[in-house]
Amino acid sequence: MSSTQQVLAIEPGAPVRPRRPSRHRHLHGSEFAWAIAFVVPYAAVFLALVIYPAAYGLWMAREPSLYRDLVADPLYVRTVVNTVLFVGLGVNVKMFLALLLSGFFMRRRWWIRALLPVYILPWAIPAIPAFVSFHWMLIGEEGLVDSALSALFGIRGPIWFSDRWLALGSNISAYIWKWMPFWTLTFLAGRMAIPHDIYEAADVDGAGRCARFAHVIFPLLGNLYLVCTLLSTLWTVGDFTTVYLVSEGAPAYSTDVLATLGIHYAFDAAQPSLGVAAVLSALPALIPIVIILMRTVQTRKVQL
């Protein structure tokens, strides 16, 4: 049994193996000095580029009146709704589809294998050209989508960026297009590490596709799925590029998310404190996510 299989065989419910006592628990002398020296570069980056600017940002946004201004701004309230929709739908739809598609790419057909490198292409294409292209595809009657609709089916397509919900949907679609391949690859490797006997056992027991997914694959990949979803949620809250380039906040700032609104306040409206406060207001939602993430990674480590 390889170590990977061993790890996968341990279920969340199984008793956690106690941590192996470390043989040199207390480093001393030159050993300790070396360990410190190795950590110093990253510690310097962390202190100078995370802690210090974050503290500075908190100090910039210390005035309670800023938050009163924010809540009073109807733009802000709508932006919070957009952010919840963009992150909630974007991340979860993307992750769930990635999990399902990783099963599709497990099939042993030559053309499915050939399709995989094409399917991964969006991840390799940089975000800026990709989202500019999305903007261009949906720009209206001249865009590729509406052109194709009228040329192939004779339908007059909608003006995508003049309706709030269509524009929001466009942003979410572009986001899913760009990032789904990365997570599909992660889940694909996760499935590949599941020993084949487990599938066969499920087959013999007469489990159908759905039953196999619900009772075999999902429990085994659950931890991986959770960690990936949490990480992705954190990254997506800070995502500026998608909304800025695809819908550009159109129509009339109604599809902005906190990231683009914060930058808009800070650099276009020259109110940096308000911009910081706008993005900062996501912090109460982000801190629990980070804590769950750190705990999950930690308990997984113990199981190793």
């Binding site: 580029l49 800026i128 500026f240 750190m294 190793l304």
Partner: protein
Amino acid sequence: MSVARSFGSPVLRPRHRLRRFLAEVASVILGVALLIWSLAPVYNMLLVALDRDEGDIEFEGLIWPPDPSLHSFQAVLTQGYWLVEDFWRQFGNSFFIGLMTMALTVLTGSLASFALSRMRLSNGALLLNAPLLTYAIPSSFLVIPFARLMASYGLSNTLWAIIAANVTFATPYAILILQQYATLIPIELDEAARMDGASPVQVYRRIYLPLMTPALAAVGTYALLLAWNEYLYQYVMLSSTRNMTVAVAIAQFFNSDEAPWNYMMATAIIYSLPPIVIFYALRRYMAEGLTRGALKG
């Protein structure tokens, strides 16, 4: 019951054959849908870039280029238009940022994860995962104080400010992946080397780095793609055309009155090529390094 089923399966009854056929049809349809989904924006880039006319393009109802021409690629590569007149320099800037981000992320990430997990600097949960705290702070929040700090250091219009930001956001994930991957390497190897009198630096160079190659390649590619995808920090901090990157230059077209969109798309396509080449060259490592780490557990 299960025995009967498994005996029965080699002889396919018509109902099974129909189900297999339907499953096959469904997967072909899904495959075609995925192909269109993945390639449509790429095709759209080509469609616009291959147009001969500068300036406004009327594509109403057109789904293939009316008069394909490579003129726009030529104009970009020879810097034959004022919006692309610094193209090669900007391309070099993007490369510099990408490669430095990659090198520094691999270096700081591997040093830190070596000390934390192999030398057991700490058994505490907190220190081991502290880098992940970075992700509690959205990058779009950090950019505002970050830009002010860089301005006060006199670094606001330099490539190093961008590299610093990229390393900040790439390293926590790098440390996570490296630590997970390092659990595949028995700690006894390190201990045996220490017994033989190897210094920590030697263990790091002779044992840790060679055995971690797949994970290091994966993390390096990840950092490079992150740098190539990054736009916000470059947009906020790089203002002069000489110091701009291609990403900012592409977005500049939107601010121009008479933007030649075919040049913009040609620039975008050329800008996309290096990461695609690097990515496919390192794909094997990527899949192994990123996911075996993520999986372990």
